[in-house]
């Protein structure tokens, strides 16, 4: 794969591209999986995967002019134009899935199909999202993973404040808070627009997601006109990290065959 930088309306934006086949855009989560990970490689066996870093994540700049989730959606509308991407499958995880929805409300033609994995974006009464912005990494591991001692955990996030990856992690946390602090990881007005997203959508969720409960996946599947919910067992919020093969197989099956 190859990482390049693009000026998107004044924001220097990092985009990593890898793989073979038709284009696919992967929109990353609050955790900032912008470095090529096993699940990116799995998708890249069938697709040319575009992996941009959101403003403020990794080496992408321009968080100063991002005030809310819609600013991010417009950033991606501009980025798709710059990269000449249109009617391509979009795979989003958590924050990235939320951005994919916001972008598709504004420009339905950009995504041909959507894979929405453990998507943020909705408020479901009686089913609050847990607190993501805590300092304690051990607690965070328990919150995000079904198995907090599993092999993917240390790949996915820093072990401690002394871990050299902490710098990117703190940047990611700040850039997420910018759009997700209040309202908390959702847009109260998104739900009333979901009917506009008519393209086929696969809603993927970990059964044991403690950050964004499965009820949110059910709400997406119900409100989107053309969506199907698939639940992965023994899996927390970090679906692509915790179940990379199941995640990639479900996405590829849906994008190629259905």
């Amino acid at each position: 794969m190859k990482t390049t930088f693009h000026e998107i309306r004044g924001r220097r934006t990092q985009v990593t591209v890898g793989g073979d086949g038709p284009p696919l855009v992967y929109l990353h989560s609050a955790g900032g999986e912008t470095q090529w990970a096993p699940f990116h490689a799995m998708l890249a066996e069938r697709f040319t995967v575009y992996l941009p870093a959101h403003p403020g994540f990794d080496s992408s700049e321009g968080l100063e002019t991002i005030r809310d989730i819609q600013d991010l959606a417009w950033h991606y509308i501009d980025l798709f134009a710059e990269l000449k991407l249109s009617a391509v499958p979009v795979v989003g995880f958590s924050l990235g899935a939320w951005i994919a929805c916001e972008m598709s409300v504004l420009r339905p033609q950009l995504a041909s199909k959507l894979v929405l994995t453990a998507a943020a974006g909705l408020h479901v009464p009686g089913s609050p999202m847990a607190e993501l912005f805590i300092d304690d990494l051990a607690k965070l591991r328990k919150l995000l993973f079904f198995d907090p001692a599993g092999p993917a955990v240390n790949e996915a996030m820093p072990e401690s404040l002394d871990d050299p990856r902490i710098y990117l992690w703190l940047k990611a946390r700040e850039a997420t808070a910018r759009v997700g602090w209040n309202p908390y990881l959702h847009n109260p007005r998104l739900r009333q627009h979901l009917w506009r997203i008519a393209q086929p959508a696969l809603v993927l969720w970990g059964r044991q997601d403690k950050l964004i409960p499965l009820t949110h996946g059910e709400a997406y599947a119900r409100e989107l006109p053309n969506a199907r919910l698939e639940v992965i067992e023994n899996c927390g919020h970090m679906v692509p990290w915790e179940k990379p093969a199941e995640f990639a197989e479900a996405a590829v099956r849906f994008l190629r065959d259905e």
């Binding site: 300092d135 404040l161 710098y167 703190l170 808070a177 602090w181």
Partner: protein, 373 residues
Amino acid sequence: MQFFAFHLMPWDRLPADFGDRYETAWTWLPNSMYDPQHGHALYNRYLDELVLAEELGFDGVCVNEHHQNAYGTMPSPNLMGAILARQTKRVKIAVIGNALPLYNPPTRVAEEFAMIDVISGGRLIAGLVVGGGPEYYSFTVNPTFARSMFHEAMDLVLRAWTEPGPFEHYGEHWKLKYVNPWPRPIQQPHPTIWIPGAGSKETIELVAARRFGYMGIPYFHIDFFRKNFDAFREACEKNGYTASPYQLGWLCPIYVAETDEQAWAEYEKHLFYFAHHLLKGLVVLPPGYTSIRSIAGIHKALGSFLSNAKSRDDIERGAYAIVGSPATVRQKIAEYAKELGVGNLLGLFQLGTLPADLTRKNMTTFARLEVGG
């Protein structure tokens, strides 16, 4: 040296198993623990202690703002400032401070501070603060905007006090068509301004450039104060003037009794209730509240934070609190005040569970020793 009596108005009745059962005294500590009947007694007792400070000859009293916590039950320091404006006649009333991003619109601060200044006949010291990390959780105010909201609000409050209204404010965070607060403050061009800081370079430079007062945030090791106050004086020199000692304040818990041994015997458990219970959860770093580069520095300084002190020896070595006989306290205060070069001593004479009788004895003994002397 000017002497101030600072009160946090802490909650003194946490359950015995608090340490095991609760991770924090902030934000999420169930408010079912708050007993309003006891609160009635406590608020009145604490206010009496600040009124006593005037009778004893202190130069001023200090209150501050915190929300949803047991550390300081003063969500509105302006209410306390207003009461003190009426119940005292002479002392400075330092409200340090109002957490500007929590006031919407922040012209509210210009109004309420002006009210206290006018009622008290110009005795207000106006503290402007960003607010603590926990406040951003408690109010769900976006911490990635904390600094820019603080700067916009500070400029707006100063403008509201110094520029004839009505005028329009068109900022990033607030858009106000008619800024025209009544009343205006007595002190001209505006009340004395103090800004507390925990060593951030940005804050030190801002306070130095505007010639405000810089109050060191307590509970850090004495070396941390020394470093920050030196940096402040240096920043003032860069701005073309020499800092006055009255621009600097040292905030510190103080306990004085007949002998060193008696002081420690009377004080120790109350101090550690404070250090190990009430401080628990005070330092959180919500995203964007601190720059990523300074998080490392804060992380390092936290290694020598009062909450980590385990023994009398730890306390004395870090000068987290000044405790002892009149001779010991007098000598230590003289020594540290000289080293730090401060003109204001902000003493916490009540801390944690320290009861009313010991608080009064402490204040009275201290006043005889230092105040007006």
